[in-house]
Symmetry: C2
Subunit: 132 residues, 2 copies
DNA sequence: GCTCAGTATTGACGAGTGTCAATGTCTCGC
DNA sequence: GCGAGACATTGACACTCGTCAATACTGAGC
């Protein structure tokens, strides 16, 4: 299994069967010290997939707005206006963030509330931790 | 100036005049705790610009290969073969990483050596640090 | 000066992505 | 049940991006 250094201690690999490969907190560290080996293609694609979700100004703002909200959750109705984009666009970005595992969706009545997943974000940050 | 929480303590804002806005270790924290305000458009674009450079499997592999090399530096000739892409493509990716401030280029004779900039990578990781 | 090897640049092409208008779906209140 | 509001989905468009072939550039050795 090549026990390389990894980020996040949770390592709940058996999450949902619907998503075949989405380790919540199990991301290979990008830039390990000199002795560590480089990323494989699969590891690089996994990390890049999550980073792609974050590497977009609008999504970063949405993520930060959710994190800054009380209880670290917010609904689309609160996000559409300050961002200044159409509602379908916001909905699309939120879906990307949910698919990346960075947000969780919960529908309460008519409203859809999105909540931050700190462990996932922490795993990404740890994967980018500098060597030494 | 809105002194928000930031990542990295260096804050050498006056770097090179050639690059107008490339604060090496001065990136606004994305997802601050509840009291912290959300990212502005400029802050989000700055962070996203660096993340875009990293959110690509090939560039992640190149970055990790440079970091894993002895002395944390490597030349293009060492990277082309294991990645399995053409030399212009590798050169292109390296330029993107240099422009993002994640790598530094130094030409020694005919060879171009790329060295990791840990502070920059650390600033990105810190900017993505989870709240609380 | 000339040749050669290591890199960088240019141009072009296909794939991917952010955006919006229009439409669909679901829940609540009447 | 019905209309209204909140959100998701679809289709279309412009734009960006990753890749390669071809070419230009640059430093070393003869």
């Amino acid at each position: 299994m090549t026990t390389t250094t990894r980020a996040g201690g949770g390592a709940q690999a058996d999450a949902q069967p619907a998503r075949p490969e989405l380790p919540l907190t199990d991301l290979t560290v990008c830039c390990a010290p000199e002795s560590g080996s480089a990323l494989s293609s699969e590891e690089a694609e996994q990390l890049a997939a999550v980073l792609k979700a974050v590497a977009e100004p609008t999504r970063l703002r949405l993520l930060s707005m959710v994190a800054a909200s009380a209880g670290q959750e917010a609904c689309v109705c609160d996000l559409t206006e300050p961002v200044g984009l159409s509602q379908p666009t916001i909905s699309h970005h939120m879906k990307v963030l949910v698919d990346a595992g960075l947000l969780e969706r919960e529908k309460r009545g008519v409203w859809a509330y999105y909540r931050l997943v700190p462990e996932r974000l922490g795993a990404v940050a740890a994967a980018l931790s500098p060597p030494a």
